[in-house]
């Protein structure tokens, strides 16, 4: 199978993630969309590693997974704190900082 199909798939996943961040209103879902974007980048890295014939891209994918896991820890900590305060994870409600 032609590896460039995987690149197209990764671009589609990345776009779905980016649109998800922009249109969804729940902080958890927004965060999941960001994770989808990171994993789309992982897929692109691995597909390009195959096309380029070296392992750099696969190494990057491992590092990205670790970073994404660390990001989940920090992100959920912040979202849970907000949820406990406001009893809601909607990103429309925290609107005290403006103008």
């Amino acid at each position: 199978m032609n590896p460039s199909n995987y690149i197209i798939l990764s671009a589609v996943l990345f776009s779905i993630g980016a649109i998800g961040v922009l249109v969804r209103r729940n902080a958890i879902v927004v965060f999941m969309s960001v994770e989808l974007m990171l994993n789309a980048a992982n897929l692109a890295f691995v597909a390009f590693a195959r096309m380029n014939g070296n392992l750099d891209g696969q190494t990057v994918a491992f590092f990205v997974m670790v970073v994404a896991a660390a990001e989940v820890v920090v992100g959920l900590a912040i979202i849970v704190t907000i949820f406990r305060t406001r009893r809601s994870a909607s990103i429309d409600e925290p609107n005290l900082l403006k103008y």
Binding site: N2, A18, G53, D56, V60, A70, V74, I82
Partner: protein, 521 residues
């Protein structure tokens, strides 16, 4: 596709990467100290944590600074091409460490707030709950900010020296993740602080995903994540435009977000206002240095050959950043928000030096960054001292007539504002002069004209604060200046001295940034 498949199947020989450990010792010292700092949180009893952490943090930063000074003249790429230690890196490391040390002093302050320091005694406690009142009453202090500070500073040092996309992405996250948490830890106005953390986190993660996808596309083009190999590939096979153009654009989104350039600036005022003021000082000064360092290396080392493709884009962004930052700052009524918009405008001025794409552009950007960082630390130090009963008085109406109540602090703050506005005999003037000359030399005279116009707009709101402080009588709402402990005094004095010294005798720093030369490749 059979040839690559064969390579993949063949036995892969792993050789141990050769690393010059002394050249990256400043990073290792800070990282080691950060790990120890986490252990201190786990094992040292509550009462002893603060002194232990302070000794550890200050000791580590000073040790890293000593090694950085000792490394001067080093010019090498180590870690199999991943990390570059050269003149600009070392100057920026030095600046990051000194400014980080001053920010440490601001974070260590606990005399200005009668309740303790600037951080919530327990950030996980519900704002206004019984738990939180108990923690406050017993005088508990949040000491977990110190490992965060060290990890963030480590990430910044790596970010400034990263010579490939993998390390740059990891450094970006190591730098950002602790800052997201620090932004949510303010002792007072907890809701604003938590909101700032949420906004900073979601938008920061969004932008770093763009950075990563752009890096993936550039890897697909060049077959390596290394900057030098990317520049060689660009020279060897021109013409594959789309992949490179999209890749560069996406990577730049991630970096422009970090420096808060228009149109990626929306997070800045919210985060600067909501975060605890010492943290605002820290990130306003150091993140800007680190992110500009990374951007300069990426553009100058690996994309220098594409200069004519990215300069027009950055011209527009620089112009928009200066004008929109300055215009929106005029409408602000909160001093921290006003300073946030001012920092957006300042990013635009530094971008003039970046798009010059010349050694003068590099030197002038570094000078401007250092001058800006010291002034910023000073402004936020003053903001943290001007208080009323409910904490920091950030509303501009509380600054009316402050010059009559506290002449010295008002004078120092006016000095910082004049420096940000670029008035002669302050560091801001020399910085602006340097980037504007580099901009004219590179042929972007119209951009410099925009810059001068933006400076005039910006001068209006800086001077407006000075007028408020001096040419009105104090009202009932006027805040008072709290006398801080030695920590803030040292930071404020250092910032004042540097702002004047770099304005009156700038030559020594200009010599240093010029001798630093260009990036190693």
């Amino acid at each position: 596709m059979s040839a690559p498949a064969l390579v993949m199947a063949a036995e892969v020989q792993f050789t141990l990467p050769s690393v010059n450990y002394y050249a990256i010792a400043p990073i290792l010292i800070l990282f080691g100290a950060a790990v120890v700092s986490v252990l201190v949180e786990a094992f040292v009893p509550r009462g002893g944590r603060r002194p232990t952490q302070l000794v550890l943090v200050i000791g580590a930063i000073v040790a890293a600074l000593v090694v950085t000074v000792d490394l001067r003249g080093t010019r090498l790429i180590t870690g199999e091409g991943a990390i570059a230690v050269d003149g600009p890196t070392l100057v920026l490391w030095g600046a990051l460490l000194v400014v980080g040390l001053l920010a440490t002093f601001l974070m260590a302050e606990r005399s200005v707030d009668p309740l303790g320091d600037a951080f919530a005694p327990r950030a996980s406690a519900l704002p206004g709950s019984e738990d939180e009142q108990q923690f406050t009453k017993r005088g508990f202090l949040q000491t977990e900010v110190w490992p965060f500070l060290l990890f963030a500073l480590t990430g910044m040092l790596v970010f400034a020296a990263a010579n490939d996309f993998l390390l740059m992405f990891v450094a970006l996250e190591v730098m950002s993740l602790p800052l997201y948490l620090l932004a949510g830890m303010a002792r007072r106005r907890r809701l604003l602080s938590q909101e700032a953390a949420l906004k900073y986190f979601l938008l920061g993660a969004f932008s770093s995903a763009f950075f990563l996808y752009g890096a993936a596309l550039l890897y697909g083009y060049s077959g390596s994540v290394n900057f030098v190999i990317l520049s060689e590939t660009l020279a060897a096979k021109p013409g594959e435009g789309t992949l490179v153009a999209v890749g560069v654009a996406l990577v730049m989104v991630g970096l422009l977000f970090k420096i808060a350039a228009v149109p990626f600036h929306q997070w800045t005022p919210d985060v600067y206002q909501g975060a605890p003021t010492p943290v605002t000082a820290f990130m306003a000064a150091t993140v800007k240095i680190a992110a500009f360092a990374a951007m300069l290396r990426l553009l100058y080392v690996s994309l220098g050959g594409l200069r004519w493709d990215w300069t027009p884009m950055l011209w527009i962004i620089a112009g928009l950043t200066m004008v929109i930052g300055s215009v929106l700052a005029i409408t602000q009524t909160d001093i921290k928000r006003m300073l946030a918009y001012s920092s957006i405008a300042q990013a635009g001025f530094i971008l003039i030096g970046v798009v010059a794409a010349s050694p003068e552009g590099l030197a002038s950007s570094i000078f401007y960054l250092i001058a800006y960082a010291f002034t910023t630390i000073g402004t936020f130090a003053v903001v943290s001292m001007v208080r009323n009963a409910s904490g920091e008085a950030t509303s501009l109406s509380a600054w009316v007539g402050l010059g009559k109540k506290s002449p010295v602090i008002a004078a120092v703050f006016s000095l910082f504002l004049l420096s940000l506005a670029g008035i002669p005999l302050t560091s801001g003037f020399v910085g602006k002069f340097a980037v504007f000359s580099a901009g004219i030399a590179s042929g972007a005279a119209w951009l410099v004209v925009v810059g001068v116009i933006a400076s005039i707009i910006a001068a209006f709101f800086y001077v407006r604060v000075i007028v408020l402080m001096y040419f009105s009588e104090p009202t009932e709402d006027t805040a008072s200046v709290v006398i801080p402990s030695t920590f803030t005094t040292i930071a404020l004095t250092a910032a004042t001295v540097m702002t004047i010294a770099l304005g009156v005798f700038p030559q020594w720093l200009l010599d240093i940034v010029e001798q630093a030369g260009v990036f190693v490749r």
